[in-house]
Symmetry: C2
Subunit: 340 residues, 2 copies
């Protein structure tokens, strides 16, 4: 491309005025005569002038770009959150730059570094499942660099965050299982250092308690959030002498994997084993039986995260709002037993 963009200088020489005059005219500076302003604006639009963001960025020391670090982009939940972030970034005239951590803490650290190198104005992050050490974020926060967490957050860090009320959601699930006659309710959790695992586990235990059920350690298994590992975890549960009659997966991916495994064992869902997931992806309604799940307001979560981000710009480094979004249990066929 020969001469890609026209600059103020181009316009200035064409009009025989100075660059500063053009600059001023374009932003309606009162000092410039209305006629000149008019004339300048006219040819600016004719020549498709658009300000060079690089130059502006240099000047203002900001890029109007937000770094977004997520475990991966192909999982519906993350994609949807990104979509939410993008929607409000767009309104504000910001761009987002996405960087996947691939669920690896090492790559997450790299992402942070690269994003900083590219001078993003701040970052919005959902932690990798491996992340159990937060110095790479602590450093930024200490430097008053805007950091917002969503979903998988670090609770100790003094920075805005958005989460979902997993505690309450799981209690609802347990109640629902109980209402359907389940007595041995298993929970396939994620890595125990993750806040989502912790919250949901608390909800699990408290829920059992409230339903007069006792917590059986062998019914709480952990997996690394991959479908494969979830299958293993499910097998472990199904090989129990005293099998569970209900399984709750920490997300829908886990629940889908569990579903496959249960079918492989020749057990019936929901009659032999009731099943509930979390996140409510589109496919919950396609699988057989349709999957009962907790709706996770994914898009909204992204929007909230972005909102907090822009707030932290305005309100400064002391700003530290924590948002908790509600969930809703959507009951489908996988958890409603016909006889009990």
């Amino acid at each position: 491309m020969t001469k890609r963009h026209v600059s103020l200088k181009d316009l200035a020489t064409e009009l025989g005025v100075s660059v500063s005059t053009v600059s001023r005219a374009l932003k309606n500076h009162p000092d410039i005569s209305p006629q000149l302003t008019e004339k300048i604006k006219k040819i600016a639009s004719e020549r498709n002038y658009t300000p060079n963001p690089l130059a502006m960025g240099l000047l203002r020391a900001q890029t109007r770009m937000i770094g977004v670090i997520i475990p991966d982009i192909v999982t519906h939940f993350f994609a949807s959150a990104i979509s939410g972030i993008e929607s409000i970034a767009k309104e504000k005239g910001y761009y987002i730059v996405i960087s996947s951590s691939s669920e690896s803490m090492e790559k997450e650290k790299e992402s942070v570094e690269n994003l900083i190198k590219s001078r993003v104005d701040g970052i919005i992050v959902c932690l990798s499942q491996e992340t159990n050490e937060y110095s790479h974020f602590q450093k930024l926060i200490d430097n008053e660099f805007p950091v917002v967490f969503f979903d998988r957050i670090c609770e100790e860090l003094n920075t805005p965050s958005v989460i979902v009320d997993g505690h309450k959601a799981v209690k609802e699930i347990i109640r629902h299982f109980k209402d359907n006659g389940c007595k041995r309710i298993a929970y396939i959790s994620g890595p125990s250092h993750l806040n989502i695992s912790k919250n949901r586990k608390e909800g699990y235990i408290e829920g059992l308690h409230e339903c007069g059920l006792i917590f059986q350690p062998e019914l709480l298994v952990e997996c690394n959030l991959s479908a494969n590992d979830a299958s293993l975890a499910t097998k472990q549960l199904l090989n129990l002498e005293n099998k569970p009659d209900a399984i709750f997966g920490i997300n829908d991916t886990i629940a889908f994997a569990a579903m496959k495994e249960i079918k492989k064992y020749g057990l019936k869902i929901p009659d032999d084993i009731a099943l509930v997931g979390f996140t409510d992806e589109f496919h919950s309604t396609v699988v057989e039986p349709t999957l009962t799940s907790v709706t996770h307001p994914t898009f909204l979560m992204g929007r909230e995260a972005a909102r907090l981000f822009f707030n932290s710009f305005e309100k400064g480094p002391t700003y530290n709002e924590k948002v908790t979004l509600p969930t809703e249990l959507i009951i489908r066929n996988s958890s409603v037993k016909r006889k009990h």
Copy 2:
């Protein structure tokens, strides 16, 4: 954040040398004495110096950012393609900026404009399903601005592109249906102006012909690629006096929707109606029956698109490689009739 990044100037004053000396030392210019170079590098790394990409961008008139325009980000196929693009962009030290068209031509045009405004070095795009007019890309190509298409491409435009061999893939599907005793094979297509619709339709008609079946216009229905519209299209087929005994959906989303609808009608898959999709999303193996589908090398497609993009940098505006990727039919339960 007080003083976010150190500059060459900072280092220069600290060391009592000039900026250019620092600049040169950092890139191992032979003119600078080894000792000085060593010393400069040492404190540069101590101070965490990283070059300011804005300044570099201004100078070189390039941002090292690639604009990526996709219909949406939550569909697995697009997310996966982005992932592929990102993987090779990263290798080259480029960032990608994603912009969704939401399947709207209007928004696609906006995306192009915004991306150009933000001075990306080129764009990689998968057309919105509405796009039937290409002036917004033509303009860029005329200006020798790098544009690469993937999957949903404009065949007339003289620019690199990556597609999948839909023609061949569909012929394989028809053959497979035939082998399973199907005689009335329906095809739920997308908007007819899309290249993917056209290719697959050709494959459909040719495939029927090769199998000694005749093309029945009522068995070819179009939908707008949404699950909703696909349900409608399916209904239309199921309401036919002479129902189809096989349905092929242009992608898995369509196939899933068709599956729901067929079940609702109380028909059995595959025995009453065999079903095949396209793209092979993860959930193909979770639905019941498991969905026969064509694997679409989504990640690879993104990588190829990115590769072509960088090629077009090196080889200049005449470069116009067209890549066609192979597919593979993965046979599962939705298409294998037990009796025929």
